[in-house]
């Protein structure tokens, strides 16, 4: 455990073996003592630029971009910028165990500036730091700041820091536009209009790498920004960034995550596996690896990763969701085990209807309809609405609870379904059951009424219903069968025979049908 920290000692709660059932192959056995490095979320506030600093937007943007990139290289640190989605590399990070905050101010006059930082723990106990910065390329200052943060958090650098201080371009104008592009990405400056995007004359994101395509941060910003296009395109940007700065493992993670988001898990796998060599205990990446392996038809790899993940704090909805899907893909849990895992997920994600819906589905699949019905109040609380009510109605019906189903149908405003439920409730009295359906306009209900009247001995009415239905739908097998029965019951064999022959054309193997030869006739 490498969480020797600033103020309170941050520990990793260790949970016992989950409910994954039998252990996988010996090589996949979880290590006896957990070695995971938990995720610390570091909320990066927008860099504040004091009055008097030249080019404030560009300076702030560049500082933000460099800080975000380099903070990502601290093991287990999930740097998130307020108001923005996380960078792609962090999309599958497990839930953080602590949330910290970093505020940075750029102060000074003209090009004589300093980076003043404040790092605050979850209890808002803060430490300050100040380093001189070079205007135009604050690489050395951001590196020093990140090193200070890393020391405070007790997190090591994953990549090489050798190249961090040197400017990414010899062209000061390209660096200026890079800062402008960053300001656009971080919301410090208005984004270009949609028709201007990707136009190197108007879009700073496109312009920065147009001016100097060797700037890794320029490609990183393009990979990070959803405005740069679909995930597949952004993945290519991340790959370019990674090729320009091979010492930065987070760029590899960005590219892999974008491949995964683009639905190309096979492309994501090599990068994610390589990260296991660099940061085997970093909890920002194993979920992505497990997900990619699962989707790339390597569920056993996925399961091995998930098995090791059992040592991480339990209450991580993403992990539990993944574990469920892995269990389903590998068929590794029996019904009760899967139900327990789903329950654990439902507790961890206490607003999310999905785990409860899955429990319902699982019980329905196992034929435990009563058990599924028991979960309806919980599902209703998480997903109130018509779909849940309709599900409850169907369950009640399948369990023969016709009145409950009818009441739910009434609540849903489905009058004809309610009438059908009440007809089913009164099946022992076919005439009474038929009465419930008298006003129904549903073709199935009309025919069912005909069958009920037939059972009640009112064969003439049944025959009339069959005839009326056949005028609308001449080849309706159920109407033909009802007609055959009803006419026959009245001794009208000729009419019955005509319908039986017609039924034979529609459904030759129907027990009431007479089947002609389609070839010989």
């Amino acid at each position: 455990m490498r969480l020797a920290l600033l103020l309170p000692v941050v520990g990793l709660p260790v949970v016992g073996a989950g409910c994954l059932g039998e252990e996988p192959a010996p090589e996949a056995v979880a290590p006896p003592s957990p070695a995971w490095v938990g995720v610390l979320e570091l909320r990066l506030e927008p860099v504040h630029i004091a009055e008097g600093v030249a080019r404030p937007e560009e300076t702030a943007g560049l500082a933000m971009a460099l800080l975000e990139r380099r903070l990502g290289d601290l093991e287990g640190v999930a740097a998130r910028v307020e108001g923005l989605p996380a960078r792609p590399a962090l999309a599958w990070a497990v839930a953080p165990e602590e949330r910290w905050r970093l505020a940075v101010r750029v102060e000074g006059e003209g090009e004589e500036i300093r980076l003043n930082s404040q790092l605050c723990d979850p209890l808002e106990r803060c430490l300050d730091n100040s380093v001189p910065a070079e205007w135009g390329w604050p690489g050395a200052a951001t590196t020093a700041t990140v090193a200070w943060v890393g020391a405070r958090l007790g997190r090591r650098f994953l990549g090489s820091t050798e190249t961090w201080a040197a400017p990414e371009s010899r062209d000061p104008y390209a660096l200026l536009i890079l800062g402008r592009a960053a300001a656009t990405v971080y919301g410090l400056r208005a984004a270009p209009d949609p028709e201007e995007r990707d136009d190197p004359r108007r879009d700073p994101l496109a312009r920065s790498v147009f001016l100097d395509p060797t700037m890794a941060t320029g490609w990183y910003l393009r990979a990070r920004s959803p405005l740069s296009g679909p995930e597949g395109t952004r993945r290519q940007h991340a790959e370019r960034a990674s090729a320009l700065d091979p010492g930065d493992p987070l760029l590899v993670a960005d590219a892999a995550s974008l491949a995964l988001m683009a639905g190309d898990p096979a492309l994501a796998l090599p990068g994610l596996e390589s990260l296991q060599g660099v940061a085997p205990d970093d909890l920002r990446f194993p979920l992505a690896l497990a997900e990619a392996a699962l989707l790339a038809d390597a569920p056993e790899t996925s399961r091995r990763v998930a098995f090791r993940l059992r040592n991480v704090p339990a209450a991580d909805p993403e992990r539990l969701s993944l574990e469920v899907r892995i269990a389903e893909a590998t068929n590794s849990l029996d019904g009760p085990q899967l139900d327990r895992l789903l329950q654990e997920w439902a507790i961890a994600a206490d607003q999310d209807p999905e785990p409860v819906q899955r429990r319902v589905d699982q019980r329905v699949a196992a034929g435990d309809l009563a058990g599924a019905l028991e979960l309806m109040p919980e599902l209703q609380a998480r997903a109130p609405g018509e779909a849940t009510r309709a599900q409850e109605m169907a369950l009640a019906l399948a369990l023969g609870q016709h009145e409950r189903a009818a009441t739910l149908a009434d609540e849903l405003g489905r009058v004809e379904i309610a009438a059908a439920m009440r007809a089913l409730r009164d099946l022992n009295d076919p005439a009474a059951a038929a009465n419930h359906l008298a006003a129904s306009g549903d073709p199935g209900a009309r025919l069912a009424r005909g069958w009920l009247l037939f059972r009640a001995g009112r064969t003439e009415e049944a025959a009339q219903i069959a005839q009326a239905e056949l005028e609308l739908r001449p080849w309706e097998a159920d109407a033909l069968a009802l007609g055959v029965q009803a006419w026959r019951a009245q001794g009208r064999e000729e009419e019955a025979l005509a319908l039986a022959l017609r039924l034979g054309q529609v459904d030759p193997l129907h027990r009431l049908a007479l089947a002609p030869s389609p070839v010989a006739e």
Binding site: M393, A394, A398, R414, L447, D507, P508, L512, V519
Partner: protein
């Protein structure tokens, strides 16, 4: 001509339950029936194709009547009819299944597997409908004129062996044969213990690899059944 068929009765589900409140279980029963019908249809299609081919390879505009060919032409007609009955009943059942799947009583409880099973049934029905239409066209346009010139009545005879090795699917499917009325099919063609009385000429798909026809008791020796065979009373002994 009317052809009554053994072995499959129409959906036994209560029409009231099915029409008013189908459940996933009702839908699955319906889909299972479609599968059963189409599995039999597959076997009948194989037998139809073999017997039709045996006729068609020899058929020309002036070909004269010949007893074996006459028999094959008749068998082809009976098998094509029996195949149609399966396919058409499967289409009819598919209509019911589609209604059930769309019903608000069943729809909320259906799983992805149900939707897939329904889609598979739709595809299978369409494929077999097209295959049957092609066989029916050959029967109507080429074999039926010959049949009308060379009428005959059904007689027992062996089926046709395919010279090419059977595919795995062909090995799994049953064997479609014709039965002559007035006896027992032994053993039970559906795999049960009891023999089945054959009331009228019929086409069946055998559940066991060997069978025989007996007039009163199952005292016959089952033989391997080939597609398109006719099981019936042995010919009268030839008078010296």
């Amino acid at each position: 001509m009317l052809l009554l068929l053994l072995s499959l009765s129409a959906s036994a589900q209560d029409p009231v339950d099915r029409l008013l409140a189908p459940t996933p279980a009702t839908l699955r029963t319906s889909l299972a029936r479609i599968d059963q019908l189409l599995d039999q249809g597959l076997a009948l299609g194989t037998a139809t194709a073999r017997i039709q081919n045996a006729v068609l390879v020899e058929l020309g505009p002036r070909v004269s009547c010949e007893p074996t060919r006459d028999q094959h032409a008749l068998r082809a007609e009976l098998l094509t009819d029996a195949w149609w009955a399966r396919v058409q009943s499967a289409r009819s059942e598919l209509g019911r299944a589609e209604q059930m799947a769309a019903s608000p009583a069943a729809q909320p409880l259906l799983r992805e597997a149900d939707a897939k099973a329904l889609a598979r049934a739709q595809q299978r029905v369409e494929e077999q409908s097209i295959a049957w239409l092609m066989a029916a066209r050959a029967q109507r346009e080429r074999i039926l004129p010959y049949r009308e010139r060379c009428p005959t009545t059904l007689e027992p005879g062996s089926g046709l062996l395919n010279r090419s090795p059977a595919s795995a699917e062909e090995q799994r499917q049953g064997v479609a044969v014709l039965l002559m009325a007035g006896g027992l099919l032994c053993p039970d063609p559906l795999g049960g213990d009891a023999p089945v009385a054959v009331g009228e000429d019929a086409a069946v798909v055998l559940g066991s690899p060997a069978a025989c026809w007996s007039a009163a008791e199952c005292d016959c020796v089952p033989v391997a059944a080939l597609p398109g065979a006719v099981f019936g009373p042995p010919p009268d002994p030839v008078s010296p």
